[in-house]
């Protein structure tokens, strides 16, 4: 059985972080068959986080962020050609160039793309950008280098905030428009969003919250000149960055019979895709931003994560399971973790902050711009966010993994004075925000009981 799984034909659709790490892991796990990796972008796999940081700051050009291989996966790279369909019966992936690739097992890692501005005519104005690909980053970086009078950023999620931060660091005036009450509120809740708003304003960002952009305006020659806001005001700017979150690349699977929709492709904890009837497949696997998977630490809700670390960890599990027989398969149980650098501070998160009802400031303080905030749900620690306190994060990760009581017991020597005073976490309904959530709880709770799994010793 396992001998069969180490051979045959594997196709990976998606040639970014998850696709590359899966391809490497397949070989590490002993796969000796034929391996094809399909990617719609013409360039080799590259890293995206630097695009909103180093690249926008002008410290690196957008075409230099290629990902290093941990080992050469000895794959046939089909780059610059998109997958257009999947025939699960014939077991073939159709490509945009008319070819179709037969497979024995398939990994889907098509990720996401930037959510476009809803009005296509306005979106096509010269000077209006989204930021997801290296091409988009290159174009935006070029405009920023030219020293525009003002940049308008629509959406104050992590990407929008990082773009605003880069603009200010380059001395460019920037207006940020956000429909929600504060930056990052959808990801981090009310208390830390107040700190985020202060960071924006202290760095000279013209932050407008509680407003939507109603129209983008051009000069008649197709060049962006400014935008109208819902409060009746107008922002004059030369560049506009639309940072409204991401759209999952699932359209090519519309006829495939898989459980693929706007929130991603549903799969089990072993990365096997569900079909539209909720029956698990055994030859189609999913990893990275395009997946939705159940996590026992968060009530078995289906998580969709747009996290670098999740793409790596899930790709490794998927690859392992693609070449391993049933009893040898592993669940994807990594605790969600992400980071963001903006306005000179480093924000790191572990767990799912939106899966919370209360928070405590366990170390540091908002005023010091250095703190660890712990999130709890019904008396259990479910997440932690640090600001310039990354070394504490592993401690809180352990509390999450062991379902420690909330508020957490005294742990750190520099415990904050009011570390046992809980504050409502104040996580808003994501539908009230400009930007999409980076962590989405897309299921419902079948019941409110916690499950405790005690491994036998």
């Amino acid at each position: 059985m396992s001998g069969d799984l180490r051979g045959g034909r594997i196709v990976v659709v998606g040639a970014s972080l998850a696709g590359l790490r899966a391809a490497e892991t397949l070989r590490e796990e002993g796969f000796t068959g034929s391996l094809t990796v399909v990617g719609d972008e013409p360039c080799p796999p590259y890293d995206r986080p630097p695009l909103s940081k180093q690249v926008l700051l002008g410290k690196a050009s957008a075409d230099t962020t290629a990902l290093p291989m941990r080992r050469d996966p000895d794959a046939d790279w089909r780059l610059g050609v998109a997958a257009t369909g999947l025939d699960p019966l014939e077991k073939r992936v159709m490509l945009a160039d008319g070819e179709s690739l037969p497979f024995d097992r398939l990994l889907i890692a098509t990720g996401t793309r930037a959510r476009p501005w809803p009005n296509p005519e306005e979106a096509s104005l010269d000077g209006v950008f989204t930021l997801r690909t290296s091409d988009e980053a290159g174009g935006l970086a070029e405009r920023l280098a030219a020293g525009p009078g003002r940049v308008l950023v629509i959406g104050a999620g992590f990407t929008g905030s990082e773009i605003a931060s880069a603009c200010r660091e380059r001395g460019i005036e920037v207006t940020v428009a956000e429909r929600g009450p504060a930056p990052l509120v959808g990801a981090l809740g009310g208390t830390l969003s107040k700190l985020a708003a202060v960071m924006h304003r202290n760095h000279g960002v013209d932050l407008r919250c509680g407003v939507t952009v109603t129209a983008l305006r051009g000069d008649g020659n197709g060049r962006f000149t400014g935008a109208d806001l819902s409060d009746g005001s107008r922002v004059d700017a030369e560049v506009c960055v639309v940072a409204l979150g991401a759209v999952r690349n699932v359209e090519w699977l519309a006829e495939s019979g898989l459980a693929a929709g706007p929130r991603g492709i549903a799969c089990d904890a072993g990365c096997r895709a569900f079909d539209m009837y909720g029956i698990v497949t055994d030859d189609v696997f999913v990893a990275g931003d395009v997946s939705r998977f159940p996590h026992p630490l968060f009530g078995y809700q289906m998580l969709s994560l747009e996290h670098w670390g999740n793409a790596v960890a899930q790709a490794e599990v998927a690859a392992h399971n693609m070449v391993s027989p049933g009893p040898m398969r592993r669940p994807h149980l990594a605790v969600p973790t992400f980071w963001s650098t903006q306005f000179g501070i480093n924000i790191k998160s572990v767990g799912v902050p939106t899966y919370s009802d209360h928070v405590v400031i366990a170390q540091g303080s908002l005023e010091a711009r250095r703190l660890a905030m712990v999130y709890g749900y019904q008396g259990r620690v479910t997440a932690a966010v640090t600001v310039d306190m990354a070394k504490s994060l592993d401690y809180y990760k352990n509390l999450i993994e062991t379902a420690a009581p909330f508020p957490p017991p005294p742990g750190a020597a520099d415990r904050a004075i009011a570390a046992d005073i809980t504050i409502p976490s104040d996580v808003p309904d994501p539908s009230g925000l400009s930007h999409g959530p980076t962590v989405a709880l897309t299921g419902h709770l079948p019941d409110r009981r916690l499950t405790v799994v005690q491994p036998s010793r």
Binding site: K53, L67, M69, D388, A390
Partner: protein, 69 residues
């Protein structure tokens, strides 16, 4: 040579900044910025930095070289 730093893992010990300051820099207290494409004269320093990283967050390797087929 290309590098990527697993910033999920990075805790800001900044050993890399001491060993290869032309490639790695701290941005604020603990945010790390780095040059993704390592210049040839920095390769040895980057290897040392990768080896010295207390949390082994630096991945060193070559980019996929396949072109469009």
């Amino acid at each position: 040579m290309q590098i990527v730093v697993d910033l999920t893992r990075c805790q800001g010990y900044a050993q890399c900044v001491f060993l290869a300051p032309e490639v790695f820099e701290l941005h604020g207290e603990e945010g790390l910025l780095y040059t993704t494409a390592v210049p040839d004269d920095q390769v040895e320093r980057v290897r040392q930095a990768a080896a010295a990283c207390p949390v082994q967050a630096i991945v060193v390797g070559e980019a996929v070289s396949a072109g469009v087929r």
